[in-house]
Every structure is written in C-alpha cells, then in structure tokens.
Symmetry: C2
Subunit: 184 residues, 2 copies
C-alpha cells in the first residue's frame, strides 16, 4: 500500500515500454475512472467517468461531459485533477495526475464518440451541451497484482508466513511527458 518507490523507468527503455503497455491494458480493461477535482470549498470530490475503452491511452485521457456540469466549473477554476482506476477484484489500481481542460470541438467529439455513450447523451453528438474533458497526464502510477484474486491471496499468505512484506504486485511510476511527445 506504499507508493514511495521513486524508481521511475527512463523513457525509451524496454522497462518503460513494458510499464506503459501494462498501464494501457489496465486503463482499457477497467474503463471506468474516478475523476477527482478540487471543489471551491477546498474539498476533494470524485465521480465515475467512462474513459471510452476503445481509445488507446497516449498521455491524454478524454472524457465526455456536459459543458454545464458542476465538475466543469471546478476544472475551469483549478485545472489539476486526479484520475484513478480501481479494480479491487483483481487488485489493480492506477493513479494519474494531470491538468484538465474543456474542449468543445465537434470534430473531436465525433472522432471519440462511442455508441454506449447514448445512455448518458441520448441526443448523441447532436447534444448542444456535449463537450470533452481532456486530461493531460503528467504522472502515473499503477499497482498490478497477480492477475487473479486467488494469486493475490497466495501472495498475502506467503508474506504472512515468511514475514516479508507483500509487494502488492508492481508499483511503478511513469514519467509520461516524453512518451507523449514521441508517440504522436
């Protein structure tokens, strides 16, 4: 449960590529993120958002939103947001830090649109208030326990028996900025 590991793999190295691949897989697989913003009373507030599954994570996260929603007010006052992905069943977790901006670009809306979003935007891309929240991620960390809950439980038992701390799988920090610059 500790994330004080400052061992960041250098961009361009095989380690970095492997970590980025894992991060993308977790994000794609979990899909639903909690977006945390700083409210005007100084409190931190989260809400579930779909990260649109099909889109490959390249350093920017895109969320569909209503431009008039309260979280947009929060983001316009304070751009720094947190995005977390959690799947307790498989013990996989992601923390991302970034700056969010509201993007009202019809072409981008059309490009990123997914049919399942109709549940939240019944008018589809014709919704007048539809917009995108773009989060430019500057830091990311992930916790990737063995892929099944059973395997994780084995890890816990082993640690309890041997007296060495369970690592909780991997906890890797990624510096995404250079990747964003080279991957587009």
């Amino acid at each position: 449960m500790n994330n004080n590991d400052d061992n960041i793999a250098a961009p361009g190295t095989p380690e970095h590529h492997a970590h980025l691949k894992t991060l993308r897989e977790i994000v794609k697989d979990i899909d639903f993120a909690m977006l945390t913003t700083l409210d005007d009373d100084g409190t931190l507030r989260s809400r579930p958002m779909s990260s649109n599954k099909e889109i490959e994570f390249d350093g920017d996260l895109w969320f569909f939103t209503y431009a008039s929603s309260h979280k947009v007010d929060e983001v316009e006052r304070e751009h720094q947001v947190g995005v977390s992905f959690a799947d307790p069943k498989t013990q996989r977790y992601v923390s991302m830090s970034g700056a969010a901006t509201l993007v009202r670009d019809k072409a981008k809306v059309e490009e990123l649109w997914q049919p399942h979003l109709k549940a939240w935007f019944p008018k589809g891309t014709d919704e007048p208030d539809i917009a995108l929240l773009k989060v430019n991620v500057s830091k990311a960390e992930y916790w990737d326990a063995p892929s099944s809950f059973v395997a994780h439980a084995v890890g816990l038992v082993k640690a309890t028996l041997t007296g060495t701390p369970a690592s909780g799988g991997e906890n890797e920090k990624l510096d995404l900025s250079p990747v964003t610059a080279t991957s587009r």
Copy 2:
C-alpha cells in the same frame, strides 16, 4: 455520470437511513479505496488503501499506514483528502470528502487490527512505524447501479431505445455530520 443532484436526504428521515445503509454496504463490500491527497506541487495523487472491511462506517474511515510514508507528509500539510470506492464490475461508486489526521494510538491500533494486514505490516502491531490515518468524512456520494452487471447493461439498452438518460442507478448525496454526532 452527472453528480449535480443537490437532493440531499435530511438526517433522521427513512430515506437518509436507507442511503446510509447502502453506503455502508458498498464500502464494506468493496473494501479497497483510493485515497487522494494534494501533493506539494499542487497535483492530486491517489493510492489504494484497505478500509478494513469488518469495521462499520460511522462517519470516520480508518486506514493503517506507516507514519513515515509520503502520504502522511501530504496529509499533515493539507488535511483535505478524497476517498473513492469503485467497483466497475457492479457499477457501484462512492466519493467521500474529509479531513485526515495521523493517529498514533496503540490502543486504537490494537482495536482496529485485522490479521490480513500482516501482509503489509509483517511485525503486526509491534511495528514501530505503524499508525492510523483517520478520515473524518464531511460529504459522501454514491452511485448504486442495479446489483449485477447484466442489469446495468439492460438499463443502458433501455435508455438508448427510449431516449431518456440512464440515471446510472442512484446518485445520492449524504450529509454525514449529524449522523456522526448522533450515532456515537
């Protein structure tokens, strides 16, 4: 995905009790939370924490931690934290806002200790650096979709067909302060 509903059930009403019951059930069931803190560079950062399953949520959340960990530095500088619980498989989500404080109380550590924590604290309650993070929750929201993923998918299809927004289940805000005062 919208949380602008300002319809807060008044404490003492049957609605409020029902919502609090649901909130407790979700928290107990998901167990693992993402704790979001404000870092000294202004970024928001999360990490997974176990909320110790067995303990009933009464307005305070307790997390075991190493007193020397970085998140404790963050919390001591800025008490406001966010705690989110997410179970994308069942589409249940919780957002809590509160103030965190470090508690180094041996009796409380013993009271809250759970055997599975040995995985992270091999020395158990004899660990010299062991401490508790107490989060006094001031605001909570939850999203409680129909209890199975299948039922949720039905909701999406229905919304797509009828052109009315999927509510994503319930989204209820709870004002916990009075409950905290009366339940202890």
